[in-house]
Every structure is written in C-alpha cells, then in structure tokens.
C-alpha cells in the first residue's frame, strides 16, 4: 500500500470491505465527506493521533492493546459502516 495515494488506499479498503485505520485525519476526513456527499457508503474510518497513540516501539504495545479492545467492542464486519471513530 505504500506506493498508493490516499484515494488508492480508500478504493482498496472499499473493495475489500475494510475500515481504514489512519493518523491522516485531514485527507481522510475530506475523502469521507466527498464520499458521503455522493451518497456512497464506506466501511468506516478509525483515526488515531501520534500524540496520544504513538506507534513507536516503546509505546506500540499500548497501540495494539487499544486497537484490540476496540475491535472486540466492534466485532461485526459492518460495525463501522459509514462511521468515523477515534482511538485516543
């Protein structure tokens, strides 16, 4: 996915019916709004902030733990359909 632009990632997530987990709040918020304005559905976006949820080696365990808790609370494939959530 590294060589894909935001729209490429977004299209891939839609095709695979997956939510997107990202720190890129601005670009993906704009994509979600664009998508909603066109009346299209998506499978959710989960935002994190590098300030509170760093993925650095020292704090990566916390990141995984929070994400695991979140996924256990939202087990259905479509649990995040058309939603934005934050892990903070």
């Amino acid at each position: 996915m590294r060589d894909r632009g935001d729209r490429g990632v977004w299209s891939h997530a839609l095709a695979e019916q997956r939510a997107v987990l990202t720190e890129d709040v601005r670009d993906f918020t704009l994509l979600v709004r664009e998508w909603a304005a066109a009346g299209e559905s998506h499978f959710g976006v989960v935002f994190t902030s590098p300030r509170s949820m760093s993925r650095r080696a020292k704090t990566f365990g916390l990141y995984v733990e929070r994400l695991d808790d979140f996924l256990r609370e939202h087990p259905a494939d479509d649990a995040l359909a058309d939603q934005i959530a934050w892990l903070n």
Partner: protein, 136 residues
Amino acid sequence: MARTRTFRLPDELLASLEERARDRGDSANALAERLLEEGLRRDRHPLVDFWDSAAGRRAIVLGTRLEVGQVIDTWLLSDKSVTQTAEYFEIPQAKIQAAVSYYAEFQEEIDQWRERKQEFADREYEAWRKEQALFT
C-alpha cells in the same frame, strides 16, 4: 514579487502544458510555475516527490505514502533519531535523512503544514467527542 521572463518552448510541450492545465482546471501559467518550482526542489532533493492529496499538493518521501511533515513529526518524537524513525516507518535511513534535508530548506513551510494538520485533527476530534457525548 513576480517577474516576467520569456522562454522559448517547443509547440508540443506548450500544447501538453495547456492540455494538462485544462484537465486540472488550472491556468497554464500556474501549472508551469508549480512544475518549475517542484522540478527545482526535486533536483535538489531527489528522494522527495510531490503528489495531490484530498487536502492539496504535498511533499512526500519518494516511493512511499509518507508526507515529509509526517516523517518530521515522528523524527522529532524519536529524539531526532534517523535510525529510530527509519525503523518505525520500515524504510531506509537515507529516505529519513532526505526528509530532514528537505525540512532544513523548507522548515517554515513544513512547520505551517504540520500546524494546520494538527489543528484540523484537534477540531475533528473535539467535534467527534461532542457528538459521542450525546449518545451517553
């Protein structure tokens, strides 16, 4: 301040420029100025590229989706360690170093970008938090 300078360019190149400008809804002058500016920057920083995101044009690390500002955020959080930042993103140290070099030359621009991005994220988080509170 802008100055006028005349260049002699092949017809095909001008036609291509005008066609591309029309496709993007830009003026040929604006597109030429941007391409020239980015070309000069690429020339000095060959591991930095530019592409369009939903929020506008941005400098990225070549061959990745990583914005230069995002790399700098992590580099600063990693006590300015190029090694740790490279390990974090799982890319060669040379690419982190390239982002730092670009930052050194365009620090004000990158810092403004980082600030705007953070402000946007903070606003969105607050709006989401308020909305969630209505459900509790």
